[in-house]
């Protein structure tokens, strides 16, 4: 696990983005997954998630499907994740 890339710099390139601020489970993960499926390995997806239940589940599910979470940013009641497709 120690070789996971974690960047603290703000200019990680983004290949696609999805705003899930109005979605609930299971669509938060389904839509994230649909977007990730369309990307090439190594490309980055930006996801905006509401705090609470989606933020609790989506990172776990993304990790369990083998992708990497490169960055987490809190923006008020929302979180911005940058996920690298595996």
């Amino acid at each position: 696990m120690s070789n996971v890339k974690i960047s603290t710099n703000t200019d990680i390139g983004i290949d696609d983005s999805i705003n899930l601020s109005n979605e609930v489970c299971p669509m938060t993960f389904v839509l994230t997954k649909t977007k990730l499926d369309a990307l090439e390995p190594g490309q980055h997806l930006e996801v905006i998630l509401p705090a609470g239940e989606p933020m609790r589940n989506v990172p776990i599910q993304v990790k369990e499907e083998g992708h990497k979470i490169l960055k987490v940013e809190k923006m008020g009641n929302f979180f911005r994740l940058i996920i690298e497709k595996s």
Partner: protein
């Protein structure tokens, strides 16, 4: 046609929990397929055939540890049910598949046919029942322990062991506790102790979002976790969520609850030990069953939880268990307590 007497004709309440001497009275003469012999209604019940309201008809309870039925067995059960049973099967509350409307004259043939796929009949009565379990860690993302494996092991080792009363064991893979370990005579629930390493931690705060219990608060400056052990349920969500592996599993094992029950007067079981390994589970069951037998002597039909509510009894069980599992015992355990569901005013 058989000359066997119906329950009403015999004027005897068929109760599998009756004491041995009373039990003998329920043996009746019977003529099945031209052969004259004896049928003990209670033996039938202990063998998992349960008398129905209807004359001569029984419900056959399949033995399905952990509620798992391989397709091969399921097909055979369906075949047998169609042949000897009624229009449907019934899923019991403890994960057994039951075939209603079976005529007692078909028992032998039915048992034989089920044996072809190693499908056994379950039990009822004052004994260790078939263990129940959730789907466990094999494919359920929340599962922390292999509850299915444990259910099979316990089924092989302890099924049918004679007790004062029924004795139910279940396995839950995580603190969500779908298998209701607190309502079992003995319940095992999966738990993982989370260990945090500072080096890989980036202060991303995902763990604090993942933790439902408020056991992880992010440090206001660094975002790194401040862990409050007293709130932790050992569910492992922080470990699963952590993107960098800063949270890692430490001890993995079972939380043990004893003395629960449901029914008219439910009891909430005592949390008596934590982080018991898979290998220690049979030892714990053995000690608890021996203790139950010894402390239930002469008390008749009494559940272990009721005994544990008597003064000094929980301490006595703790002492016995401590010999087997040492420091994993929770010495401050509270006795089982009543959950009142039948109070109407």
């Amino acid at each position: 046609m058989s000359k066997i007497k119906t329950r009403r004709e015999m004027k005897i309440t068929v109760d599998h929990n009756l004491e041995e001497d009373v039990k003998k009275k329920i043996v009746v003469d019977a003529k099945i397929d031209g052969k004259v012999g004896k049928i003990d209604f209670n033996e039938l019940k202990s063998g998992g055939f349960i008398k129905q309201r209807q004359k001569d008809l029984f419900t056959a309870r399949m033995r399905c540890p952990g509620g798992r039925i391989p397709i091969k067995k399921l097909k055979k059960i369906a075949e047998v049910a169609e042949k000897y049973g009624g229009e449907y099967v019934h899923l019991s509350f403890r994960q057994s598949l039951e075939i209603p409307y079976v005529n007692y004259k078909s028992f032998n043939k039915m048992i034989e046919e089920l044996k072809e796929v190693d499908q056994n009949i379950a039990s009822c009565g004052p004994r260790v029942r078939v263990p129940t379990a959730c789907s466990g860690c094999e494919y359920n993302p929340n599962g922390l322990t292999d509850t299915q494996k444990m259910a099979q092991t316990v089924n092989e080792k302890f099924f049918g062991y004679r007790c004062n009363h029924k004795f139910k064991i279940s396995f839950s893979g995580c603190p969500i506790d779908c298998a209701r370990t607190n309502e079992m005579d003995l319940g095992f629930q999966g738990a993982v102790f989370p260990e945090w390493n500072e080096d890989p931690c980036t202060g991303c705060t995902i763990c604090s979002s993942a933790c439902l219990e408020g056991a992880i608060i992010p440090h206001p400056q660094t975002g790194k976790p401040i862990f409050n052990l007293s709130k932790c349920l050992f569910c492992s969500d922080c470990i699963r969520a952590c993107p960098t592996g800063a949270w890692q599993p430490g001890k993995i094992g079972h939380i043990v609850r004893v003395g629960g029950r449901h029914g008219r007067h439910p009891l909430n079981g005592s949390v008596i030990a934590k982080f018991i390994t898979d290998e220690e589970v049979p030892k714990v069951i053995e000690v608890v069953l021996e203790w139950y037998k010894k402390n239930g002597e002469g008390k008749g039909r009494v559940r272990i939880g009721e005994i544990l509510m008597e003064a000094g009894k929980l301490e006595s069980l703790i002492k016995e268990l401590e010999k087997a599992i040492g420091g994993k015992i929770i010495k401050s355990a509270k006795p089982p307590h009543a959950v009142h569901i039948n109070q109407y005013d």
